[in-house]
Amino acid sequence: METIYQLLQTWLPNLPEPIMRLISFAVPILFVISVFPGIFAYTTLIERKALGRIQNRLGPNRVGRWGLLQPIADGMKLLTKEDIVPRKADKFTHFLAPVIAVIPSVMLFAVLPVGSGLIPVNLNIGILFVFAISTGSVLALFMGGWASRNKFSLLGAMRAVAQVVSYEVPMVLAALVVVMATGSLSLLTIAQAQSGGFLNISNWFVFQPWGFVGFVLFMIGAMAESARTPFDIPEAESEIIAGYHTEYSGFKFALFQLGEYLASIALAGVTVTMFLGGYNGPGSHLPYVGWLISMGWFFSKMMGVIFIVIWIRGTWPRVRVDQLMSFAWKMLLPMSIINIFAAALYHFMPSKFLAWVVTAVGLLICWWGLAKLNSDGEIKKRTYRYAN
């Protein structure tokens, strides 16, 4: 936003002040509103086609060439469906839940740097804002489940809330290492800290051992936050029908999907910014076209992360809810705390190479140790108490 304001001041200084302010507000807002829901729509199509190809079948290819008009068809279908509210449901809460599901997800895009210097609002508490806003979607889960007056929806909502809340902790702690390394909470500063280096790539945090572990932990946490497989207990179709959004139809259901996918896309964007260098890539520092190239890098990296998330969805089975909780509290949380220690160690060691090696080895040992601690040993042959 400030960038546009400054650009306007240099190129069109004759405009009156309020108009310049208005334009500098309006352009990022329009950008976010038009680009990211478009990405959402085509992410649904990419997901279906990629899942199809993974499963040796074609995805949708009837509506428009290669299925390109499929999201429009889906949108029209959902808009024209009858909106059913259960008779004794809490109407106000039932109405409000999808709204509260979408609002935080859209607000996340306000602090995402899509290019060098291009961020809608440069909050100096950017990351904290991201986490604070994602807790808003927790409420939406609970409200959706409660308002449907359906015991299964409620169960799904409880499990969803438990899952989201427990995976927030390792996610925040994994993001903490990046904040420690950069010294700032602002996402733009974090992205800028990863510029430079060989081809603008070697400074990415993912290449540091603590950054790599942080990346893995943050990705896992992000997938659990947006309830994607293998953590899609909240909406597992084969288990609890549709969980907290069972009783929603038509556009409200579309809003839930919108909220979930937008959260997934936004968290992918945050992952890219924090660990994968954000908009940095070869050529993103050039004077005049740098901003365009950096935007290209950002979006391609974001789509790459989204593709990996979709790939994981097509591959891994769903975790059981108790396995999910034990994974978060017994495995990810200790790992994230150890990661903070490793990052601090890296920061204070004299030689960078030594620091890299020592922290890498240390993290591997801790990973192995935690795995051993959490494993139940060799699977023994089953013995029965009463049979045979």
Binding site: I54, N56, T315
Partner: protein, 339 residues
């Protein structure tokens, strides 16, 4: 050596191979893009019946004997025999309707048809907009060529063709030396299907004297009533027609009697006229439809003998003959005092 998460990455490698392979390796994709492509149905799959014709649509194998109509469990077939202006039955159906919303695809009509005329199609794209009128298939829709039948069910159709050809050959061979007793062997053999590959009807305006006509009719039709080959065609169920029950003791089989009325082309009055001075069994036989279709469970001779001998009391079994035959049989029995 296994690290924590090794299985996860192996899984991802498999799906990556699937994903990349799906672009390059065409056999991997299991999608059949209907309606541009269709799944190849197996040969034995069946949907609804159709009628077979041999060379042109005039040479349909169906003679309108109505066996399939009677045997059909949900009664979805409706047949009306074609008759000429005198009321004489032409050996083909005028109306043949199958209601495919009723048909349960049990294939019983195929199993009981003695003439290999009705077979099961495998076309499943039968959706219509009107549930009642559009789902009734009428005669022009049902007639399909033998080449089509060979195309959809090659093994079955070639077996049927072989069987029909063998019977035609046998009939021709029997016709050569058969000056004598065309009748004798006819009713005796068990499981005698009486199919004729193409019914020969002696037209009314053919220049034959009545004696010549009688001889010709007897020669042609009775020669075809010789026991068919006991091969095992694909439609083996067609072979297990109810055996010609010769329970009646006084089926003397009258060997050397010729039957000039045994011509399906003759109308009822003419047939009765030809059998005027004959014993009751012959008159009864003349009243039948002369198709030897075995709808009644016998051939025409056998049914007549069974009725005359008292073994069979049901006079309405002659399906092709319909009410006319039943009425005549009753009348004859009444006259003979044997009701």
């Amino acid at each position: 050596m296994g690290f924590l998460g090794k299985g996860l990455f192996q899984g991802m490698a498999v799906t990556a191979r699937n994903f990349v392979g799906s672009y390059f390796d065409k056999e991997r994709m299991v999608t059949v893009q209907y309606p541009e492509e269709r799944v190849q149905v197996p040969e034995n799959s069946r949907t609804f019946p159709f009628l077979v014709f041999d060379n042109t649509a005039d040479h349909m194998r169906c003679v309108g004997c109505k066996i399939c109509e009677e045997e059909c469990p949900p009664q979805c077939i409706y047949i009306v025999m074609d008759r000429d202006e005198n009321g004489k039955p032409l050996q083909r159906p005028k109306v043949f309707d199958i209601d495919i919303s009723v048909c349960m695809q049990c294939q019983i009509c195929v199993e009981v048809c003695p003439f290999e005329a009705i077979k099961m199609d495998n076309n499943y794209e039968k959706s219509q907009y009107d549930r009642f009128d559009d789902l009734v298939e009428r005669l022009p829709d049902l007639l399909k060529s033998n080449e089509y039948y060979n195309h959809i069910k090659p093994a079955e159709a070639s077996a049927v063709d072989a069987k029909l050809k063998a019977e035609a050959d046998k009939k021709a061979k029997k016709a050569a030396p058969a000056k004598a007793a065309p009748k004798p062997a006819a009713p005796k053999p068990a499981a005698a299907p009486a199919p004729v590959a193409g019914r020969l009807v002696i037209p009314e305006d053919a220049p034959f004297t009545p004696e010549q006509r009688a001889w010709l009719a007897g020669f042609l039709s009775s020669a075809g009533a010789v026991a068919g080959p006991a091969t095992a065609p694909v439609e083996s169920a067609a072979v297990e027609l109810p055996a010609v029950e010769e329970a009646a003791p006084d089926t003397e089989a009258a060997p050397a009697v010729d039957t000039p009325w045994h011509d399906p082309g003759l109308a009822m009055p003419q047939r009765m006229d030809l059998a005027k001075e004959r014993p009751l069994a012959d008159k009864l036989m003349a009243a039948m439809a002369q198709t030897d279709c075995h709808a009644c469970g016998y051939d025409c001779r056998g049914y007549a003998d069974a009725i005359a001998g008292g073994a069979e009391s049901d006079l309405s079994l002659c399906l092709p003959g319909e009410g006319e035959t039943a009425g005549m049989l009753e009348q004859l029995m009444k006259e003979a005092g044997k009701v």
